[in-house]
Each structure stands twice: as C-alpha cells, then as structure tokens.
C-alpha cells in the first residue's frame, strides 16, 4: 500500500508527544499560515538560558501536526540560540521526507518557535 506520508510522519501525527497548552510557559508564539489558513501556537519554558520544556497546539494538516511535534522535541535542552538555528531540512529529515507541497508546513513550526522566543525575550527586558 502506498502512502502519501512516510510512516514516521504518520506516527508523529497520530501520537504526538508534545501537544497541549502550557500554563506556566515563559514564552508563547502564535502563527498562522496565510496560504491555507492554519494556526499554530508554540509554548516554551526557559530556565537559565535553556529551553526545558516545549509544547504546541496546531490546527492544520497532518504534516503541520507532525512537524510541530518534531520541533518541540528538537528544542528541548537547547539554548534559544541553538534552537533558532534549526532548519526546515533538519526537521524534515526526522520524518524522512515530506511531500513537496507540505514543506511550507514545517516553516510554520519554525516561525512559531521564533515568535515564542521573541515573546520570552520581550518579557525578560
């Protein structure tokens, strides 16, 4: 049976580990995808310059949900600077691949993370 998405993408989409609101988040970023109308919220908790926890809420396609989950997993334990250097390509590698038309969904996750870090930094000042 041929599938549109890789097994890894499907698994992430069906059983994401990092979804849900974070009540004690220190940074929250919300982004929308102007192309297809999707929305994503990224929550991060930062302690001593490191991201110690992350979660997401996403209204979007299976790829958007899977990449949301991937980015949360990838940033935990990283400094904000390290987290900001994560690329679409690195995220997609975690899923093996994404259909071409779905690559923009992974940039949504990166945008969401950026906004969350900005939000945290603003509060710090």
């Amino acid at each position: 049976m041929k599938n549109y998405y890789t097994k890894k993408t499907i698994q992430r989409f069906l059983e994401p580990k990092y979804f849900g609101e974070m009540k004690d988040a220190t940074g929250v970023g919300e982004v929308g995808n102007p192309r297809c109308g999707d929305r994503m919220k990224v929550y991060i908790k930062i302690k001593n310059g490191k991201i110690v926890d992350a979660s997401f809420q996403t209204l979007g396609c299976a790829a958007a949900i899977a990449t949301s989950d991937v980015i949360c997993e990838m940033i935990i334990g990283k400094t904000t600077k390290e987290a900001l250097s994560i690329t679409e390509k690195e995220m997609i590698e975690k899923l093996e691949k994404l259909p071409l038309v779905k690559v923009h969904c992974s940039s949504l996750a990166i945008e969401g993370l950026k906004k969350a870090i900005e939000n945290y930094e603003k509060k710090e000042d």
Binding site: L14, G20, G37, G60
Partner: protein, 385 residues
C-alpha cells in the same frame, strides 16, 4: 503500528470501481475483437457493431436518438466539446453558468472570448430559475448548469430551467442552447433528455461503475457543434480519433446496469450518517441542502479540526473520504464551492465529504460512525479549539 486490513471506501463521488459485468464486457474488445471500427473487414465491422450497440444503450437510457450520442475520452472532454463547440463560431456571445460548476465547465468558459455571467447560488447551493431568466440577453447563446454538485450534492432545478429556456426559445430567432453536466446525477436521478428539456448533456464512465477514460455527450439533433480538434470522421467528426471500443462498451454496460432501487437504501444510510454526526459531535454543520441532495452525499464541517488531517487519520483506520480543505488541494486554496455557499475559510478548512455507493453496507457505516468522533476529539485536543 498495526496494519489495518479493513478497507472502507466512502469516496464514490471521486470514482467508482468497475462492475463485474462491465469488466467482462470490455475484455473481448481488448483481445479477440480488437478491430478498428473504421475497417471494412469483419473484424472491424464487429467492433463497429459493438459501438453501435453501446450507442443504442446510452441513447435508450437518455431517451435520445442513437445519432444524438457521441463518445468522448472523458466527461471533461465532453464538457469542453459542448461549450467550445457551441461558442467557436459565435462572435460576441453571452453565456450563463453558475459559480459552482465543475472546472471542466468553468475553465473552457474562462478561456473563451464569450461574455460569461456566473450566477450565484443560495446558501444551500441552489441556482434559482428566475436568476437564469433574468440574465438572458439578446446575445445569450448558451446556458450551462450542472445537474448535481459533486462536493455538496445539491441538485439543481434542471427540468425547470430547461422548460423556462424552451419557453423563451419559442419567441427567439437565435435559440439558446441548454447544457447540463449530469456526471454526478446519473446514478440516482432521472436523465431523460426530453423531460429535462436539455440540448446537451454530459455523462462519465467511471462515476457509474464503468471504466475511466470514457464519457459521452448527448447533442440534440439540430444543434451545431464544431469539433475542438481535428482528424478523421469518427463520432461524426465531432470527436475524431479511433474509438476506445472497450471503454465505450464498458460505459454502455455500466449504464445498462444502473440500479433503479439503490436510491432509497442509499438515502437511508446518508440520513443516518448526517443525523448521527450532527447530533453526537458538537460544533458541526451540514454543507449544502438537506432536501435537494444526492442520496449518496454527506458534507459536514467540524469546528477546530482541519480536513486533511481528518482524512489522513480516517485513512489510517482504513476509511477513504475526501475534504474541501485548502491543505488537501495542490493549490492550497479551499474549495470554491464551499466558499460560494457562504462558508468562511475556516469552515471550509474543517470540511469532510463522505460519498456512499453501491457496495456501501450498514456495517461500514457503523464502523465509520464509531471511529469519526474519536478522531475529531483527538484532533480538537491537538488544536486546542
């Protein structure tokens, strides 16, 4: 992950499997009766006879003359021939159609030099007969309104429009041609061209348990249609090219097999699905009309859920459906049909289309109705809406 063996196809408006009798009717034409219908030898004449028989069956189904049926490579081609075929010789022509037509109608009109009026539809997706009449001008040459919509299942008042156009034509020197794309209607609705008062009517093979790659166009005697491409004189020169004999015979077998008694059973299943979803899953809405609806169509929007993810999650449970969400389209645009009936982008985003068919069972519906609420709930948790 557990492999789910269950396969439940609930996407019959996209395409249907070819019936057993259709396949057996087609095979000889691919092998021993492979002749070219234009050849004068016996092998060729056998093939010609097969096509003639096919034409007779389709004509009978439509209540038309054999000479009024031409076979095409698809319904899209039939629509193109119908519209461009009428418009080609016209100058400064005016055409009336609706905003929710199939792309096979909208695109040829968009690219023609004719002036086109795109009629709006009401929130149920219905074209008003008065609206058609109001727009008729002196230079109107063509009206094209679909019989039933593939996405929301809305049935248009074709018979009424046909009668009204006919009345107007009585006092006109230049007659208005009335075309309907009946692709989605054939399975369930009466299609006699003289009752409907249509001049051109399109049907498709693969939506009625026939093969893909074949369609047919009814062209009322006296209506002049120019070919849109040129070659030899097959299909009266309107659609040149060696006939796809197997597919044509397959289409005619599918027409012959149309089951008259399917409507009631299908309607019951449809109503059960609609009622259950609307009453058991909060924040849902039915798209399209409740009454003027194809017996096999269900289209529902779920708030806080995106349709592509819903489709993929159901697919993982072995259930095949469709959606009007932007995320599922190559263009990343939401369904223009859903927007035309007044849905917001967000509502179109959360839409799910379920279409039933000949093989759909009560049990399949049970399983679908059991899985769907669980998936919707999970996706709503993920979206936080």
């Amino acid at each position: 992950m557990k492999k789910n063996k269950q396969k439940i196809y609930l996407d019959y408006a996209s395409t249907t499997p070819a019936g057993e009798s259709v396949v057996s009717a087609m095979i000889p034409l691919l092998q021993k009766d492979f002749g070219n219908p234009s050849s004068l030898h016996a092998l060729g004449q056998d093939a010609l006879y097969a096509i003639d028989e096919a034409r007779r069956k389709v004509a009978e189904f439509l209540g038309a003359k054999e000479s009024e049926i031409i076979f095409t490579s698809s319904a899209t081609e039939a629509d193109n021939i119908a519209l461009s075929g009428v418009l080609q010789k016209e100058k400064k022509a005016h055409v009336i159609t609706s905003v929710i037509e199939h792309k096979a109608v909208l695109e040829p009109l968009n690219s023609s030099s004719a002036e086109v009026t795109y009629l709006p539809v009401n929130k149920e997706g219905v074209v008003k007969v008065e609206d058609v009449l109001k727009e008729i001008r002196e230079n109107t040459v063509l009206v094209s309104i679909m019989y039933a919509n593939s996405e929301i299942g809305t049935i248009q008042p074709i018979k009424e429009i046909g009668a009204a156009v006919k009345r107007i034509n009585e006092n006109r020197k230049k007659k208005i041609v009335f075309h309907t794309d009946a692709v989605q209607a054939v399975n369930y609705l009466p299609c006699k061209v003289n009752d409907l008062n249509v001049d051109l009517l399109t049907i498709s093979g693969h939506k009625i348990y026939g093969p893909k790659g074949v369609g047919a166009l009814f062209i009322r005697q006296g209506i002049e249609i120019s070919p849109i491409f040129y070659g030899a004189k097959q299909e009266r020169g309107v659609r040149p090219g060696t006939e796809n004999t197997a597919a044509i015979v397959g289409l005619s077998q599918a027409v012959e097999d149309l089951q008259k008694n399917m409507t009631e059973k299908t309607e019951k299943l449809r109503d059960r699905i609609i009622d259950t979803i609307l009453s058991e899953i909060p924040q849902t809405r039915l798209n399209g009309s409740r009454e003027r609806r194809l017996p096999n169509n269900i289209n529902i929007s779920f708030k806080g859920v995106e349709g592509e993810s819903l489709l993929i999650a159901l697919d993982q449970k072995g259930i095949a459906v469709s959606t009007g969400s932007a995320c599922a389209s190559r263009s990343l645009l939401p369904s223009y049909v859903l927007l035309a009936i007044g849905l917001s982008h967000e509502e179109a985003h959360g839409s799910l289309r379920v279409t039933l068919g000949r093989m759909t069972t009560e049990k399949e519906v049970d399983y679908f109705l059991e899985q769907l609420p669980l998936i919707v709930e999970r996706l709503r948790k993920i979206s936080g809406k």
